[in-house]
């Protein structure tokens, strides 16, 4: 009996619910911590980003107008699907980063729990940040937080799964859609998460995932006029000034975060809307 040969996975992009290769035909080599070849993920291009923005914009209104209850159930569904594939994700993290199996398990479990935590926020964030305002006149006046729109996310280089989930979950919880750029040196967990997302009833285009170089793509995220916000938690410090200057072109809301679990991560990509109506007979 000869030894069975593994069937290796081709890592592609995740755009509009499909798994296309990069239009550029480029890939780059990912090796593990011992220098062993792991995979050739896509080196996504500006055109891939543009395609992803089109998909994200098309999905945004529908996702934002889904009920908060529905969005919560779908985020919870992503957690359920990930729970069922814990071992696969842990093994992938182990192989790529060289952490102990125990550490890898912990990261996967923390990621699942974080999805559950954000799932619970979808129908509570308005109570936290909304208000009725006692204006000095016969008007009913209230303020509600609303999803910002299309948000970009430059994922942290380390903490390839937890850091990634900590970016996309709060962005989509409120009704935004997202284009995430996975960790450059550890993109595989994010691309495997796309398979989980694809089977969680999340509408196509709500989460779009690219792999590639943040030094190449982040400036295009910043200057894209149809991206409303940008989470730059994973951006190299030396690129921050350039990215913020680029974002000024359409006054993008640009933020970065240290905490993984915080309602502030949801609210950073929401806008307050205040509505007035007269009271009278």
């Amino acid at each position: 009996m000869s030894k069975r040969i593994d069937v290796k996975k081709t890592y592609k992009l995740f755009i509009g619910g499909a798994f296309p290769r990069t239009e550029s035909g480029r890939t780059y080599e990912v090796k593990n911590s011992r220098g062993v070849f792991i995979a050739n993920p896509c080196l996504a291009s500006r055109k891939d980003l543009k395609d992803a923005v089109v998909a994200a914009r098309a999905a945004q209104s529908g996702w934002a107008h889904a009920t908060a209850y529905n969005r919560g159930q779908i985020l919870y569904r992503i957690a359920e699907m990930l729970e069922g594939r814990r071992d696969q994700f842990a093994a992938e993290i182990c192989e790529l980063t060289g952490v102990t199996p125990r550490k890898a398990q912990e990261e996967v479990e923390a990621s699942i729990d974080l999805l559950v935590w954000y799932a619970g926020w979808t129908d509570k964030i308005s109570a936290l940040d909304g208000a009725t305002n006692p204006v000095a006149g016969p008007y009913y006046n209230f303020t509600i937080p609303e999803a910002l729109g299309v948000v970009g996310f430059i994922a942290p280089k380390k903490s390839a799964l937890l850091g990634f989930v900590a970016g996309i979950a709060p962005i989509i919880a409120s009704g935004n859609t997202v284009i995430a750029l996975a960790s450059e040196n550890a993109p595989l967990s994010a691309m495997s998460l796309a398979e989980v997302i694809a089977t969680s009833d999340l509408p196509a285009g709500v989460v779009n995932i690219l792999t590639g170089k943040s030094s190449e793509l982040a400036p295009w995220f910043a200057s894209h006029m149809d991206i409303d916000g940008l989470d730059i938690s994973g951006l190299d410090a030396k690129l921050v000034t350039e990215i913020k200057k680029g974002g000024a072109q359409n006054l993008k809301r640009i933020h970065s975060f240290k905490e993984v679990a915080s309602p502030g991560r949801i609210l950073a990509f929401m806008e307050s809307k205040t509505v007035w109506h007269p009271i009278g007979v």
Binding site: D129, A131, G137, N141, T143, K245, L251, K273, W276, H277
Partner: protein, 479 residues
């Protein structure tokens, strides 16, 4: 028969304007080196000579603000800070007449508006924020929230005192000290506000006022001693500010331009809507960032509506801002008048149809008749660019969704109006419209308890309400 109105001018006696003003720095008026005139836009009379703030003045103001922060302001409890704000609110109420007359003289707005809107709302903003000063731990901003330190504030000419109040009140309530630059063409009420600070016994340096033009503003924005910038003005300048602070630790809030749509559905109460549209665009000569400068009206009622609107516009009284019967005052400056004229000519050239009522206007000063353009399409400049004058562009729609799409077809997102007698339609439209402030069956209403600010290129952050406090604190939970 027509009713004629006898002149009913408000007296100027309550106001005394000095021939020359310095900057208000560290509790004293400091003479500037260069000066420029501020004029009454209704008569072109020179009102006073104003100091043009340069590097030395901005340095001195930032230094004074930092000193006041370290020595006095940061040592006070919230309760004591709040008492100063209450005092300011009361003094503004006591001197309301003086402020209203001075505002109308320097800005050109009707006394009816400065008296009934600008000044009372300015006092209300101080009163509201005074009460927050000792309750910040309950404001939902987290327990780690701290003031930024020295805040640079740059305000526009359309609501000079009111914008000062929107900026200074929350900044002081949260424990910051201030370097404020009033607009080049309307510095007088800010300089009078310095007297209010004196009368309130506010520690020297807590509020510093440096007058000047855009170059003075740029010095404030780029000063290393400024920890936070709050700017109200054009989107163009807002983007420059966003770029210049990129990569610094400065925090920024921006209240910028707008091109608000007033969406009128066929089931609207027509007469009420006509009043609302008139108020939406002709309030303050249309010099309002949230002005309802596009009328987006359902085709089925468009003709009837425009006729009624024109009839109503014939009753608008244009003239002396100090006359208590005046509806539409002077355009704030020659430069602004030129900009309005240029965009109106673009409206003619691009094929829209211009209409204005016959109205006689003074020979001197800067004036523009209330104007509507019909037959406007979405690509016209007058449908896309902020005119910031009494010019309304009319677009039509057939289905409600088309109305929403047209309303949202702009890079701005400050405000929007909805006119309908059907509750479910109002709530549907209010969800769909991409704007920070939605007025349904009303327009241009403001209140210190009500957050104000825009989506998209209309700015960053909110002013007013609990939400406005976050802008002046760092380490906020929701930052």
């Amino acid at each position: 028969m027509t009713f004629e109105y006898a002149p009913a001018p408000e007296s100027r006696a309550s106001v005394s304007i000095k021939p020359k003003y310095g900057h208000y720095i560290g509790g004293k008026f400091v003479a500037g080196e260069k000066h420029f005139p501020t004029i009454n836009p209704a008569t072109e009379e020179v009102l006073s000579s104003i100091s043009l703030g340069g590097k030395k003045d901005v340095d001195a103001a930032v230094k004074a603000a930092k000193k006041a922060l370290d020595l006095h302001w940061s040592k006070l409890s919230g309760r004591e800070r709040g008492k100063y704000l209450f005092r300011i609110a009361r003094i503004l109420q006591e001197r309301a007449r003086e402020f209203a007359v001075l505002e109308s003289l320097d800005n050109g707005k009707p006394i009816r508006e400065s008296r009934d809107v600008d000044v009372p709302l300015a006092a209300a903003h101080f009163f509201y924020h005074a009460g927050w000063a000792d309750k910040l731990e309950f404001a939902g901003v987290g327990t780690k929230a701290k003031p930024h330190g020295v805040v640079g504030q740059i305000i526009p000419w359309n609501f000079p005192l009111l914008m000062l109040a929107w900026k200074v009140a929350p900044a002081l309530a949260t424990g910051n000290t201030v370097v404020l630059k009033p607009a080049e063409t309307t510095p007088l009420t800010a300089l009078l506000f310095a007297e209010v600070c004196e009368q309130a016994g506010l520690p020297a340096g807590v509020v510093n006022i440096v007058t000047g033009d855009g170059s003075t503003g740029a010095l404030i924005v780029n000063h290393p001693g400024i920890n936070k910038i709050a700017f109200t003005g054009s989107t163009e300048v807002g983007k420059i500010i966003a770029e210049s602070v990129a990569g610094t630790s400065k925090s920024v809030t921006l209240e910028l331009g707008g091109k608000a749509a007033n969406v009128v559905f066929e089931d609207a109460a027509i007469d009420e809507s006509v009043e609302g549209i008139v108020n939406g665009i002709f309030f303050n000569q249309g010099h309002v960032c949230c002005a309802g400068s596009r009328l987006v009206i359902q085709e089925s009622i468009s003709d009837e509506f425009i006729k009624k609107l024109q009839k109503r516009m014939e009753k608008i009284r244009v003239g002396d801002p100090l006359d208590k019967n005046t509806d539409l005052g002077a355009i704030n400056s020659r430069a602004q008048l030129e900009k309005i004229k240029e965009l109106a000519l673009a409206g003619d050239a691009e094929g829209a149809e211009r209409w204005s009522p016959e109205c006689s206007m003074p020979n001197k000063g800067f004036w523009f008749a209330p104007t509507i353009f019909t037959g406007v399409t979405q690509s016209h400049r007058i449908a896309r660019e902020e005119i910031f004058g009494p010019v309304l562009s009319v677009l039509t729609f057939r289905t409600p969704q088309e109305g929403i799409d047209k309303a949202n077809n702009t890079p701005f997102g400050l405000s929007a109006g909805i006119w309908s007698e059907k509750g479910s339609k109002i709530l549907w439209a209010s969800q769909k419209l991409k704007a920070g402030v939605i007025w349904a069956n009303t327009f241009n209403k403001f209140d210190p308890t009500s957050p104000f600010g825009g989506y998209k290129e209309s700015g960053w952050g909110r002013e007013g309400g609990r939400h406005g406090l976050a802008a002046y604190l760092k380490g906020v939970t929701h930052e």
